[in-house]
């Protein structure tokens, strides 16, 4: 129990951000019309590639004089993140490009 309380106090900033972001997420996304469900999901999906930042930090401070596990896994993480980010945003853009209102004659 003490551990949990200690954890809460040490991480209170991050915990606040998490809790408030959950509410923010539900508010911002709550009333999306169903025609946009796929692009929303795919755009949100691209944002989850934000873990590429973790990969950049890891590889950025890794020892590159030898080939080590940390470096290799870090590079894989960066590449995975980049696939998620670039693939996600491009595919979403392509979808949204197609959504057009009827032209008035």
């Amino acid at each position: 129990m003490e551990n949990i309380l200690l954890f809460f106090f040490e991480k209170k900033d991050a915990i606040f951000i998490i809790v408030l972001s959950i509410f923010l997420g539900f508010e911002v996304i709550g009333n999306v019309p169903s025609i946009l469900h796929t692009p929303l999901m795919s755009g949100a999906n691209a944002i989850s590639g934000i873990s590429i930042i973790g990969g950049i930090i890891l590889v950025g401070h890794a020892d590159i004089s030898t080939i080590n596990l940390k470096l290799i896994l870090g590079i894989v993480a960066v590449m995975f993140g980049a696939i998620n980010v670039f693939g996600g945003f491009v595919v979403t853009d392509r979808m949204l490009e197609m959504f057009k209102k009827k032209k008035k004659r």
Binding site: V28, S34, G54
Partner: protein, 474 residues
């Protein structure tokens, strides 16, 4: 800026800029997602969120410092840039080239890589002595890893490379896996085992979560895919947030949690559209098996192409209800052509979209948008249902369970209570179907036997083309 660094000992200008860039990107993510809730502004929203992402990537690369205050060295920057460029260009080309019908599997594939990245980051950070957030790290490893393998299996299923394996055994196996994973996490947290032992356990946890991702998605069938894809999308966000927690990186936490909530909302919407609980979908008690009730069926009546074309052409209002069958037959373009032809002949044509039609949330909308159907023609279920009694023809293309009246009037049916598009209330119903096979839920559809229903058997694309040719002759 320089004076700032003097006033704040231990804080450099770079760190201030980095922090501000995280704040800015967090704002861009929120505004981007907000703009994505309207078709007019959605594209800008996506670009905005993309810009936020690019911004944090660049500033982190240039300005991040480790605990000892060292910047990222040039050699490391080159390695990172090369990795990003190779992966980014490859992914962009793939994203540009794939067919719209293949969209669900690629959304799933990109989702897998995001989960994989989070899992790897958390896995490596476990060994970092400066990392104090063991619980969060372990959750990041587990959730990221199962998102990776689960999304890959979803990808394989949507590509139709992997079939469904379902048995009661899988359910028990999955429950067992969950217990083992939880026990493993608790042991690392509270077991007081030496670091080296814990490290091995964490690697094992990563592998077990990977296996769990496979066995968790494996038994879930095709029509439940919208729920699974949304859920995995949510998981990838949660994994990213966990990774952000490790670094106390607010942009990562906020971005990840936003994705987590977005995925959760969609998951709930999808479950509601099927009138099932999430647990029910995950345990996979659907498909086959259900207590088939054999009432008096009635007679199936067919309609010829020429009769159907006359009926459609001289209607006031036609409502088209597309389903996964339209996607398989790649019939969205001919379908759009038929709609335009009828409109030019003075018919009011609308498309009725059920929330879970297809294999991912909003699947039908994307396909029809690709075929240049204006989005104001795509009508949601709740809006179209009151109009159906005034509709002359409801044209059902490759949809089945979402128009099954058993959901309304047969309490013994497995889909009872699921909201449906009430095509049976239309004056006439034409159902285009390959054969008399049953839908995903493997239950009889009494719509097909109704007095106002006529069946048009055959491949949807061919039948639609024939209809177009006939109508042009009229």
């Amino acid at each position: 800026m320089v004076t700032l660094s003097v006033n704040l000992p231990g804080v450099t200008t770079g760190e201030i800029i980095l922090t501000f860039s995280y704040l800015l990107s967090a704002i861009l993510f929120v505004i981007g997602l907000k703009l994505m809730s309207h078709p007019e502004t959605a594209r800008r929203g996506n670009l905005g969120a993309g810009a936020g992402m690019l911004l944090v990537m660049v500033t982190t690369l240039l300005l991040h410092r480790d605990e000892n205050g060292h910047n990222i060295k040039t050699g490391n920057i080159i390695i990172i840039l090369v990795s990003i460029v190779i992966a980014g260009i490859w992914a962009s080309i793939v994203a540009r080239r794939i067919k719209m019908t293949a969209m669900p599997q690629f959304v799933s594939f990109f989702n897998a890589t995001g989960g994989g990245a989070s899992a790897l980051v958390a896995l490596i950070e476990y060994s970092n002595p400066a990392n104090q957030s063991t619980l969060v790290t372990l959750l990041g490893v587990a959730v990221g890893s199962l998102t990776f393998s689960g999304s890959m299996i979803a990808y394989g299923k949507l590509e139709e490379k992997i079939g469904n394996i379902f048995s009661r055994f899988m359910t028990y196996f999955n429950i067992g896996m969950l217990l083992v994973l939880s026990a493993g996490i608790l042991f690392v947290l509270f077991g007081n085992a030496p670091f080296e032992t814990n490290k091995i356990i964490v690697y094992i946890l990563c592998i077990l979560s990977f296996i769990y991702g496979i066995t968790f998605v494996m038994p879930i069938g095709g029509a439940d895919m919208p729920v699974v894809i949304s859920l995995l999308n949510s998981f990838s966000g949660i994994a990213a947030a966990m990774a952000g927690f490790i670094y106390h990186n607010q942009a990562m936490i906020l971005g990840g949690i936003l994705v987590g909530s977005a995925g959760m909302i969609l998951t709930i919407l999808m479950c509601r559209a099927m009138n099932r609980s999430l647990l029910n979908v995950l345990v996979g008690s659907f498909g086959g098996g259900g207590k088939a009730i054999d009432k008096e069926k009635g007679i199936i009546r067919e309609i010829s192409v020429s009769d159907a074309s006359v009926l459609l052409n001289y209607s006031k209002r036609v409502v088209i209800v597309p389903g996964y069958g339209m996607a398989i037959a790649q019939a969205q373009h001919v379908c759009s052509e038929l709609a335009r032809l009828l409109e030019n002949n003075g018919v009011d044509v609308k498309f009725a979209i059920h929330p879970v039609a297809g294999r991912m949330p909003g699947h039908m909308n994307v396909l029809l948008a690709e075929a240049k159907v204006p989005y104001d023609k795509l009508v949601e279920m709740d809006v179209i249902n009151p109009l159906l009694p005034d509709t002359d023809v409801a044209l059902v293309i490759g949809a089945n369970d979402v128009v099954n009246p058993a959901a309304l009037n047969d309490p013994s049916s497995p889909i009872y209570g699921m909201p449906i598009i009430r095509t049976h209330e239309a004056k006439n119903v034409i159902v285009m179907k390959r054969g008399m096979g049953k839908g995903y839920a493997a239950i009889e559809n009494f719509l097909f036997f109704a007095d106002n229903t006529r069946m048009l058997f055959g491949n949807a694309k061919d039948s639609l083309q024939k209809l177009i040719n006939e109508i042009k002759k009229l």
